[in-house]
């Protein structure tokens, strides 16, 4: 029983680390910039398909592909913000039209992926997938452990970027008081553009991690929409460290529930926790008050 419990906690932590990678980009866009990028999980799937193609064609390591494509996605994210800014934000229509924009973007990406790859499940091959380390009675399947390590490193890197660099602090400040930020000498449009770039760059990495963990098909992203938003809110809007903690909490809770009560209850965990949190601690479990 103890062994089962500890194994469930460990596999929950590993899963939670990966959730953090998916929620990280949303924590920046939704939490810090007030941009409801509902297409984020689908962009993660897009990243996963890039990892799939290059892995299939050249046999490259998926993590490496994710890291190499992060700068490419950064540029894509900047372009996306340009479109968003000129179409909606500049004229103050971002709240509803912006949401519709990202909703549409989600479908366009999904349909393009379906037209190109069909709806069959795709997967990658790498030497560590299928291996499991054992420490005592605790299992560390590398299929989960490698994504966990990469996700935590990336999340911490973003955390330190946000809190220790001028550009990062400007990103944290931009949605709180845009004019005050201008008075500090920063151009809010450029700040937001680079922030959305970073957010989308993390999707390239999260996508590569996803396809290591499980086979994917184009609509898998939808499974992550609710969970990722729940993690961002649980962690406290805009708090990167909170996002990581909340992702780990959700991962462990899902793992425990599916181990002891059956996997069909697992999807209810994130929203259950979200409801409880909103009722008793609306700023999020780890949020700044």
């Amino acid at each position: 029983m103890t062994e089962l419990f500890i194994n469930a906690v460990v596999s929950g932590l590993l899963l939670g680390g990966f959730y953090a990678a998916v929620a990280l980009g949303l924590s920046i866009t939704f939490g810090q910039l007030d941009i409801v990028n509902i297409a984020h999980p689908t962009i993660v799937i897009f990243g996963a398909y890039i990892a799939y193609i290059l892995n299939e064609t050249f046999g490259l390591d998926p993590v490496l592909i994710g890291l190499v494509f992060a700068p490419v996605f950064y540029v894509l994210g900047m372009g996306l913000y340009r479109i968003y800014y000129y179409s909606f934000e500049r004229t103050g229509q971002e709240s509803l039209s912006g949401l519709a924009f990202f909703f549409g973007l989600m479908f366009i990406i999904e349909v393009c992926l379906i037209l190109t790859f069909g709806v069959d499940y795709r997967l990658v091959s790498a030497p560590y997938i299928g291996q499991t380390w054992k420490i005592g009675f605790v299992d560390f399947p590398l299929r989960m452990t490698v994504p966990f390590i990469v996700a935590v490193v990336v999340t911490l890197a973003v955390y330190f970027y946000m809190s220790k660099t001028f550009q990062g602090r400007a990103i944290m400040a931009v949605s709180q008081d845009r004019l005050a930020l201008q008075l500090m000498g920063a151009d809010p449009v450029k700040v937001k553009q680079s922030a959305l770039g970073i957010a989308i760059a993390t999707a390239a990495i999260a996508g590569a991690l996803l396809i290591i963990i499980q086979p994917i098909e184009p609509s898998v992203g939808r499974l992550f929409i609710g969970r990722a938003f729940a993690i961002v809110v649980l962690g406290g809007m805009g708090s990167i460290s909170g996002t990581l903690m909340a992702a780990l909490v959700i991962g462990v809770a899902e793992s425990l529930i599916s181990t002891f009560y059956g996997p069909s209850w697992a999807p209810a965990v994130s929203f259950g926790l979200l409801l409880l949190t909103l009722a008793f601690r609306p700023q999020g479990i780890f949020g700044r008050a």
Binding site: F166, M172, A173, Q176, L179, A180, L183, M184
Partner: protein, 243 residues
């Protein structure tokens, strides 16, 4: 190293509402100039024009910087900060969920201010010890007086040559009003700043002013060449003190 601002005949307003009518003021190097006026007379609008937040519809605003003349009209707020003009905005406008220290660090966002950031942070902490005690606290959780100190400290982090202060007394307890204004004077002398302050608290403002203007319904009604002429003016007594 002479820095000055000359505002010549500017008109400005919001949409069809004209607020400023041909306003002219100047601030010379090393002076503390106050713009006096009660609510709704155009003090903040004037400050907004100088800092690039609002574009005047007529007139010119010239910054003289070490002999160079720069037209400020049409420049964005972030460009004007780069030129050495910093604003302590009305209502403080801090970043409430960021910590005190993060707010101060953002004050030094512009490239030229990053070099001396450590020294400037020490300077601000020395001037306002309470900010050091609360450096890790969220800015929004502090009292109004402490927030005003943070707003001043944040503006100083950008190493301004000219400091604009918009209504430092708003929302503060009387004891903090006099402390804040005294602190502005002290820092001005210590850092050789040029200060332009918009304020409605007449008695406090004239304590630190070298010169001042009285703005009424968007026009400069009176220009006092020294603090004495401001405090002994009939019109001021009438408008402000109700005598």
């Amino acid at each position: 190293m002479a820095n000055s601002i000359e505002v010549k005949n500017i008109d400005a307003g919001y949409g069809s509402v004209k607020v400023l009518h041909s306003v002219s003021i100047d601030v010379q190097d090393g002076e503390t100039v106050v713009i006096l006026g009660s609510n709704g007379n155009g003090k903040s609008t004037l400050i907004k024009c100088i800092t690039g937040i609002l574009a005047p519809s007529a007139g010119e605003i010239i910054l003289k910087l070490d002999g160079q003349e720069i037209d400020l009209i049409g420049k964005k707020p972030e460009e004007i900060v780069e030129l050495g003009i910093s604003l302590v905005p009305e209502g403080r406008r801090l970043f409430p969920s960021l910590t005190v220290e993060e707010n101060l660090m953002l004050g030094a966002y512009k490239e030229s201010a990053r070099v001396n950031i450590e020294d400037n942070l020490d300077m601000v902490y020395e001037a306002f010890p309470v900010l050091k005690e609360r450096s890790r606290q969220a800015a929004g959780s502090m009292s109004g007086g402490e927030q005003q100190m943070l707003a001043i400290g944040r503006a100083l982090m950008s190493e301004p040559k000219i400091l604009l202060v918009d209504e430092p007394s708003v929302g503060l307890a009387p004891i903090f009003v006099s402390r804040t204004i005294a602190k502005i004077k002290e820092l001005k002398e210590q850092k050789n700043l040029t200060v332009l302050m918009a304020e409605q608290n007449f008695n406090q403002a004239v304590k630190v002013a070298d010169r001042g203007y009285v703005i009424v319904h968007g026009q400069i009604e009176f220009e006092g060449k020294d603090a004495e002429s401001l405090s002994n003016n009939e019109m001021i007594k009438q408008y402000y003190l109700g005598l």
